[in-house]
């Protein structure tokens, strides 16, 4: 029983899950940055 494809699948799945989650954090950060820029603009009301 070698199971190399299963081993690869498990390790790949682990990193895909973590990278997707990190991606959501990064996208939330950039959305917040845009919101902060909007708030800093004087007299701008969206």
């Amino acid at each position: 029983m070698s199971g190399n494809p299963y081993l690869f699948a498990a390790y790949a799945a682990t990193w895909i899950i973590h990278i997707v989650y990190l991606g959501t954090i990064v996208s939330r950060y950039s959305r917040l940055k845009r919101e902060i820029e909007e708030l800093k603009k004087p007299g701008v009301r969206s």
Partner: protein, 230 residues
């Protein structure tokens, strides 16, 4: 402080790479399962990390229930979120390991089922945090977190109390493990714990920023000379 995060990030990346090398190359191949047993080095540390994060969620929820500190509420939210990510890894890697070893992807055995229930409890916690907008949400979430935490020891000890297909625990289970395997397991656990800490840290900063921005929006609405509600 600004430099601490990137430095820790680089150190964690090095540690994770070293742990990966140890798991795939250095660790001895298990006699009966072969290479597929190496899933163990990702599956078990992910489970331990998830349990620790759920414990942090429990402790922070207790602090919030007693002292009503917003920082404790943020720690509770962040640890639950990252804990769910690690628990998802456990629930995905487990069946991938089970298929070649047991011949099935899933069985409704006590350890597997209780882990799934634990995951569902914390996912519902996150749904509550995300979609409930009332002022009582942190309080309700903290109460749910305390109840959810009761499930963690049940999941861990389920393999002692019930006859299950899942192997006995590595630590304190009465079984034996090759010292080299144990060494690699602990390195991977350390690496994933450092990674989880950094993710929690960045998520904590994000949540604080989000709350500041929400507060600024609320202030802006209040100061709007037209008195309009946006």
């Amino acid at each position: 402080m600004k430099k601490t995060f990137p430095i820790l990030g680089i150190l964690t990346a090095i540690l994770l790479s070293y742990a990966l090398y140890m798991a795939l190359v250095w660790a001895p191949t298990e006699r009966t399962m072969g290479n597929v047993q190496r899933i163990f080095y990702y599956h078990v540390p992910s489970a331990w990390t998830a349990f620790i994060l759920f414990f942090v969620n429990f402790a922070a929820s207790i602090v919030y229930l007693i002292k009503r500190r917003p920082a404790a509420d943020i720690v509770a939210l962040v640890s639950a979120e990252v804990g769910v990510v690690f628990c998802t890894v456990v629930l995905i890697t487990g069946p991938i390991w089970a298929r070649p070893v047991w011949g099935i992807w899933w069985t409704w055995d006590m350890r597997l089922t209780s882990t799934l229930v634990l995951w569902l409890i914390y996912v519902s916690y996150l749904f509550l945090r995300r979609f409930s907008s009332g002022g009582q949400t942190p309080l309700l979430a903290a109460a749910l977190a305390v109840l959810g935490a009761l499930c963690v020891p049940f999941v861990y000890f389920s393999i002692w109390f019930f006859r299950t297909q899942h192997p006995q625990p590595v630590m304190g289970g009465g079984g034996s493990i090759d010292p080299r395997m144990l060494h690699v397991l602990l390195i991977n656990w350390l690496a994933f714990s450092c990674f989880a800490f950094l993710v929690c840290w960045s998520r904590y900063r994000l949540e604080r920023l989000q709350r500041d921005v929400d507060q600024a929006h609320a202030m802006e609405s209040l100061m709007d000379p037209r008195g309009s509600v946006r």
